[in-house]
């Protein structure tokens, strides 16, 4: 199999390091190309990429971007894969798997596989994706203004005009709608009643947010008192000088999971597996947790209470998460969007 793009990059990398007069630390006869979210890349470089390059004597080429861009790229290069391994949300990974862009991960070669929480071991089936991190989604609120004990409280008169909801196009949107539906007594994964509930309260909802950073600013400016948000963003809220609380609604918390996937026919499986195993190791997962980058999927990871406070941590928390199944999200995403556009944004 030809891997010309990788070679070109290798040459470029080699000439760059020659220019910098750096010693040829890496044998550079092997290259691993990975596709990851663009967030926290400085931390990932320090904790994951650089140490792995030392171990494997290879070069890691990192490609970043949002999920749509990265998936489009993997699909475009299907016949001659450029990306060896990628990290994706469970539903995006399932979408890629259905287009035959992925191959099962040979978990017998992952020495750290048995250390993972059960929900992370095989969320897609056939070992097409291995969970490496997850997050809880619940409601952050101003404890001096309101008390939130249920997802239904988001639509309460006390919060009218003071609440933000995630846009349906974000990763938080459908899970939040799911839990709102649960609070209203909906059965199964039908989000229609919840979408109608949001539509009925459209005038009471300040905005449908797209980014958690935007939400943090709205909270800081006292534009809103409550909103559903992923645990990974909790750090932005808890120290903002206002009385903030993380709700534990009686219907439970929802959330999401990210998985590692192996692209089909990439010809670089051994190196990719070695890299995945390294990323899942207790040592690396602990370092990522302590840097507050990703909550650990490795159950052996132990962190201080202070660190745990910022993460989705511990067997009990993990077991209690009510996640939307990836195939449900994938199959219904378009219809949810249409329904949302028709009813909520009319």
């Amino acid at each position: 199999m030809t891997r010309r793009p990788a070679k070109t990059r290798l040459l470029a990398a080699a000439s760059l390091s020659a220019l910098a007069l750096a010693p040829a630390a890496h044998a550079a006869d092997k290259t691993l190309t990975i596709s990851v979210y663009s967030f926290a890349q400085d931390e990932f470089k320090e904790i994951v990429y650089d140490p792995f390059e030392e171990i494997c004597g290879c070069d890691i080429v990192v490609e970043t971007g949002n999920s749509v861009e990265r998936l489009a790229k993997i699909e475009a290069n299907k016949d001659d894969p450029v990306i060896d391994m990628a990290v994706l949300s469970t539903h995006d990974a399932m979408g890629a798997a259905r287009k035959d862009l992925l191959q099962p991960v040979d978990v017998s070669k992952l020495s750290n596989y048995d250390k993972l929480y059960d929900i992370a071991k095989d969320p897609l089936g056939d070992h097409l994706g291995i969970g490496y991190t997850f997050y809880a989604t619940s409601i952050v609120y101003r404890s001096d203004k309101v008390t939130v004990e249920s997802w239904a409280d988001l639509m309460s008169p006390e919060l009218a005009g003071n609440v933000a909801f995630p846009d349906v196009t974000t990763n938080q949107g459908p899970p939040a709608l799911y839990m709102l539906g649960q609070a209203m007594g909906s059965e199964g994964y039908d989000l229609t009643p919840a979408i109608e509930e949001v539509a009925a309260h459209a005038d009471d909802i300040v905005t449908y947010y797209v980014r958690s950073s935007q939400l943090a600013q709205l909270m800081q400016q006292e534009e809103i008192w409550a909103a559903p948000v992923g645990r990974f963003a909790w750090g932005r809220f808890k120290d903002n000088g206002l009385p903030m609380e993380w709700a534990t609604p009686k219907e439970g918390q929802t959330g999401g999971m990210n998985v590692m996937v192996m692209t089909a026919n990439n010809g670089n499986e051994d190196l990719a597996l070695q890299f995945m195993d390294f990323w899942l190791s207790t040592e690396v997962q602990t370092a990522l947790a302590e840097a507050l980058v990703d909550s650990p999927a490795n159950a052996e990871v132990e962190v201080s209470d202070e660190v745990a406070e910022n993460l989705t941590y511990g067997a009990e928390t993990v077991a209690s998460l009510k996640l939307l199944p990836p195939d449900v999200i994938l199959d219904s995403r378009e219809s949810w969007l249409e329904e949302w556009n028709a009813k909520v944004l009319k």
Binding site: A72, V206, T207, Y208, V210, Q221, E223, N341, A342, K346
Partner: protein, 275 residues
């Protein structure tokens, strides 16, 4: 200028090739996406786009806000431009610099400032509540009003600059002459100033209208998902749905709207001259 016409053509060739290969061709390919569906060439994507009630709302809102911003900035622009050209040359430069100053600040920074000013605990609401005019703060953010204010502040300088340079080219005695001959201020404006500055108005109007229509940052930050405009909708279609067909339909609509606005303004200007 050149003895041989071909010399001129030859000199223009590199730029023409550059523009054709790197601008016209890609734009053509992109826009042609909007005329295709599974069966080949078709207008179906356009029919589908306008069949959605949400899309129609977004289209009309974009048209309305852009026209409103252009109209209001023309009114404020004429008053400001007239005041500026009436100043002695030394202070004229200083005031003109003040008008153009906002253009040197990033639109992101300017829009974020509005986020703070228009917020519930922001300047506007503090004044309104503090003075006793209102009991509870107004909800200004994420409304059409907020987007309108943001766009007006963003593009007003372009209108003022166009009108100031048009007025500077106006014969110095035209306004005093009309006044001496008995015209009131309305007649002076309608029959002297407006016809003499119509080119400035066409340029300024086109810049403000097209700018407001295609602005992304301001509607995204001050309007959000509740006040979608064509540009924010386009972004949503591409990044969320990977739906390049709808996106190129929107891009085409924006282009047609921009050209139409320019033609319409030119037509209005020449119609006045013909009368």
């Amino acid at each position: 200028m050149f003895e041989d016409k071909r010399t001129g053509l030859a000199l223009a060739l590199p730029a023409a090739v550059f523009a054709a290969a790197l601008f016209l061709l890609p734009v053509g390919i992109l826009l042609s996406e909007g005329f295709r569906n599974a069966d080949g060439w078709s207008l179906a994507p356009y029919v589908e786009f306008f069949a959605s009630g949400r899309n129609r709302v977004v289209f009309l809102r974009t048209l309305k806000l852009a026209a409103l911003v252009a109209g209001v900035s023309a009114v404020i622009g004429y008053a400001t431009a007239f005041a500026i050209v009436s100043l002695p040359p030394a202070s004229r430069g200083r005031v003109f610099a003040l008008v153009t100053l906002p253009l040197m600040i990033s639109p992101v920074a300017r829009t974020y400032a509005w986020l703070v000013i228009l917020g519930r605990t922001g300047f506007v609401n503090q004044m309104l509540v503090g003075s006793g005019l209102l009991d509870t703060p107004l909800r200004l953010l994420f409304t059409e009003t907020a987007v309108f204010i943001g766009l007006l502040q963003l593009f007003l300088p372009l209108m003022i600059i166009s009108l100031v340079s048009a007025m500077e080219n106006m014969p110095r005695d035209a306004v005093p002459a009309a006044r001496v001959l008995g015209a009131n201020w309305f007649q002076v404006f309608a029959r002297v100033i407006l016809p003499l500055t119509r080119e400035g108005l066409v340029v300024g109007g086109t810049l403000v209208f097209t700018g407001s229509m295609t602005a992304y940052i301001t509607p995204a930050i001050l309007g959000g998902a509740k006040v979608l405009m064509l540009e924010t909708l386009l972004y949503q279609r591409v990044t969320v749905a990977n739906d390049f067909a709808s996106a190129s339909v929107i891009a085409m609509i924006l282009m047609v709207m921009a050209f139409s606005a320019n033609l319409l303004l030119k037509r209005l200007a020449t119609a006045r001259r013909a009368r």
